[in-house]
Symmetry: C2
Subunit: 423 residues, 2 copies
């Protein structure tokens, strides 16, 4: 039935009728659609998300809407983002097996993906706000990033295939546009949809918007983001795009996928750990969060270490693309030259990820799309105090990124800022 | 007639018959095809080029062949390069009016472009070998580069249009592949099609191929070339792709066009001036070339100065794209912030162009496609001496590019190397 009629948004009421004959769904959850239980659980900014449970199991039905859900139909957004999400998920599944939900069905016209229902997984951001220490996230996310970013680049792919795929994803214009404006530009001027904790942060916000070095750096990073098509990015890899149990970690929602710089995914992800770190002070009603803060800094260290180790492993064992060919290095018996090149590549990623991380922190506090880490702090003065620290931290790592040489240095800075202002 | 039959290569004998009813051509040169004079003048590496002259004028008929002309049909090369050349020419004509030949007709199936016959223009490389000092080339090429590179980027274009165009040109895979391998990789290992002046350069060549810093830098630049899709490049902007009279300068042959880093066109172009500089010693049979050497260094200075001035002018007057938006700078009354950002962008271009220039010098001496500047020096020892100086110069500017701060510094280095070894 779907796929032939024009697009129509599903609802809790219509889902079972409209998808009752869908073979992929029926074979997963059971054929008796009249017994299906349907809930709408989309808490993101953009889409409809249904959990459908039948006699033999559950599934997720995700459907794009022709507008931004957070804002309403005054902000149209094309349905084709579902197409890009589907294609990103299939590539991520191939490059980092087990890291994303299994796909059961895709309908381009209905902008609808039926996929694995992850249970009892919860959103990582929620877990971190609750103060839960997940033991495996650093390893799982580090591996996911290294594998998808390496294997989607000219270090690994046949360049003809990368260029064709790049052309395919170049059409994901509207979602790129959201990142380009909401992340890199809007926070630094008085853009219409901005908001921040006011009046507490007014002074600092004015200061940042007058900060030449910061604004030039933000635009330089925007230039890198939009022009440097080196690999297929997740494109929105924050702690709200990751589902976890104590054992398992899955990356979801890659509808922002497109070819961009490796450092973007890593920087955005680490920024979300650092924001969680700065937000912990706001969640201490039921007890101190010292251990949670230490845990979060450890997660940052380990994520970056796992990324580096896995990326280095792939560099040594799977470097079959046209960049840094073995004919120039190992085949000449010069292993050290290949290692020197690896250090060079990792150093570039490092320098750029600090920039992206700093900007991501800013846009979550100054722009349209805030995050729950800070938003759930009811006391506005307390929230503003947490946010102010994060803003200063973000400014420092973005502007000084070429002079910062280790993750410990960044974590020490975070710890210093956190303590200093908390008096 | 063309456009309906399958591709067939033209010849001097068949051209008038096959194109005799082509309206665009007839209206330019005269309807009586039996009176047309046809010459094949293609001296490049890839294509057929005919000059067709009739009662009322002349035209160029350029046709791609399904293989690399320089190598033969053992190296197939798709006809679609003609499609990319046509589309690049139309964009260049719009962005830098008067800088490229006028297009009269394009036939995609026959891979055939009919265009303006430039006369009495000659190839710039030939003029430089002859020791001619063209007064306008620095200004004309500097303007061409600033206008095409700025106006093809997100500094100026609607980003949706740039992304769509990027996707179009991403299919120019095979010509990118030539650059990727022949320019950035083959020179640095014992690749099959390489050649160099031997045995004179054998020692230096071995040294360069064992030079870790150089090889890592070359691959880093290759990464930049293939991934950093910031603007529509000419893609092959050397002195053999420029036609000149004392008054006029026109850029031709943009079949390598694709979205890449601005610095690539500029670096390749300046490399060809520096190679001409180092080759002058080999052309002194009929008199010293001191004035010509001084002229060439002046051309380098002026080209870069004109590029900077025009790019800065466009930055201040045409920056309508999504990068470095005025809302962040001028609209906040902060002109200095916009100027700081401009300096930052120009500095990045500068650092990268030195790298591309150094690599371009190497591949013209060590790779497959040599250039006539050196090749026409019959005395092999003399040629090798000129080439050796250029190789050392290229190595220095590629590897030390981040520590070199002005064009005078580079020219002084060139002059020093030129004198030192010439004893």
């Amino acid at each position: 039935m779907t796929g032939k009629l024009p697009f129509e948004a599903l609802s809790v009421e219509t889902l079972a009728t409209r998808l009752g004959t869908n073979e992929a769904l029926c074979s997963k959850i059971g054929k008796d659609a009249s017994a299906w239980k349907v809930r709408e659980v989309g808490d993101g900014n953009l889409n409809l998300v249904f959990i459908v449970e039948g006699a033999s199991g559950g599934a997720i039905v995700k459907q794009a809407l022709p507008y931004v859900r957070l804002v309403g139909d005054s902000w149209p957004l094309p349905l084709k983002r579902s197409f890009f999400e589907y294609h990103a998920l299939t590539r991520q599944a191939a490059r980092a097996p087990g890291s994303v939900p299994a796909i059961y069905y895709f309908d381009e016209v209905q902008a609808l993906i039926i996929m694995e229902y992850l249970s009892p997984h919860i959103i990582l951001r929620r877990a971190l706000i609750e103060g839960r220490q997940l033991p495996n996230i650093a390893r799982d996310i580090g591996l996911f990033m290294a594998r998808t970013l390496f294997r989607g680049s000219d270090l690994s792919m046949v360049t003809k295939e990368r260029k064709a795929d790049l052309a395919l994803f170049a059409d994901n214009v509207e979602l790129c546009d959201i990142t380009e404006n909401l992340v890199f530009s809007d926070p630094y001027f008085d853009a219409k949809m901005n908001r921040h904790t006011s009046p507490q942060l007014d002074g600092l916000v004015a200061e940042l918007r007058a900060d030449r070095d910061l604004k030039v750096e933000a635009q330089r990073l925007k230039h890198l983001f939009t022009a440097n098509a080196e690999t297929l990015l997740h494109g929105d890899l924050h702690s709200g795009s990751i589902m976890v149990t104590d054992q398992e970690t899955r990356m979801i929602d890659p509808e922002f996928a497109f070819y961009g710089p490796m450092a973007f995914d890593i920087g955005m992800l680490l920024a979300n750990f650092w924001m969680s770190f700065f937000s912990q002070r706001g969640h201490e009603q039921k007890g101190k969060r010292d251990a949670m803060r230490a845990y979060l800094l450890d997660v940052v260290v380990e994520t970056w270490a796992v990324f580096r180790a896995e990326f280095s492993h792939l560099w040594r064992t799977e470097r079959t693309g046209m960049l840094y060919q073995r004919s120039l290095f190992e085949d000449q018996g010069d292993i050290l030259a290949a290692e020197q090149a690896l250090d060079d590549v990792l150093h570039q990623i490092w320098t750029d990820l600090l920039g992206f991380a700093g900007i991501e922190v800013h846009r979550r506090i100054l722009g349209l799309a805030h995050n729950a880490d800070f938003e759930t702090i009811a006391d506005e003065d307390l929230r503003a105090s947490c946010e102010a620290k994060a803003l200063k931290f973000g400014r420092h790592i973005a502007v000084n990124r070429r002079q910062i040489h280790s993750i410990d240095e960044v974590n020490n800075l975070a710890a210093l800022i956190e303590q200093e202002n908390s008096i």
